[in-house]
Symmetry: C2
Subunit: 142 residues, 2 copies
């Protein structure tokens, strides 16, 4: 983080959160990618997008809130499915262009009813599905 220190290996003193939020490298739409990882098992559950307001809400409420690009509105994870994400820790990367969320995922993170979204696996010249749903999406969104 060049703004914090000319030597990126030296640990600067703690910086104000609001200042770091100002420095984040949001894209042209004001968004930054956020990876959600189950805090205890280490599973990478999903990747979605946040804007500054959704980061602030997530930190305030400890319930993960993304920005839905398809619906162009806040997406409070689990608001329709009940499959919430409780925030444990929020981190930024060295370039301040990616967020890593340690979360406690209730049930299925994926809209298909699977625990995580990364169920398409490359095997040689094919792509297979190697996860089964925990729950039928028709039940999730009933």
């Amino acid at each position: 983080m060049a703004a914090a220190s000319s030597d990126s290996t030296a640990a600067p003193n703690a910086q104000a959160l609001s200042s770091v939020l100002d420095q984040l490298k949001y894209n042209a739409a004001g968004l930054i990618p956020a990876i959600a990882q189950q805090y205890d098992s280490g599973e990478v559950l999903m990747m979605a997008w946040m804007n500054r307001a959704s980061i602030e809400e997530t930190l305030r409420t400890q319930r993960v809130c993304y920005w839905s690009r398809s619906r162009q509105r806040f997406w409070r994870k689990g608001e329709s499915s009940g499959q919430t994400q409780t925030l444990k820790t929020l981190r930024f990367d060295c370039d301040l262009d990616t967020i890593l969320l340690a979360v406690d995922q209730q049930g299925a993170a994926c809209h298909t009813g699977r625990r995580d979204c990364f169920f398409y696996k490359v095997e040689d010249d094919s792509v297979i599905i190697d996860r089964v749903p925990l729950i039928d999406p028709d039940e999730l969104y009933a």
Copy 2:
């Protein structure tokens, strides 16, 4: 993956890799985000970007190759630092817009010499650094 099945919970038969690569949702610059996770410990190491050619090279060589947005060229991880990433598994998410790489990271994934890039941690209204470098970047890039 709507193109594969109208019911996204049903596992289709294996699909051809080339067809899935055609269906990936590359952004306007032809890129897709890729998360690198240490295959055995589960650490999320970094997030970077790939284009179709870098995905194909990574699968062919089993050495992770990104596309550097700042340098506008292939970025064969470790080519200057020696801190390579060997591919174990490559996965796509449900929306085909994110890649998850299970890798074996040699040494430090981060250009600051730290094991991973997510060393800025939010604590209350501050952001602290809670990782120390494994190696001095001056040594890494000497």
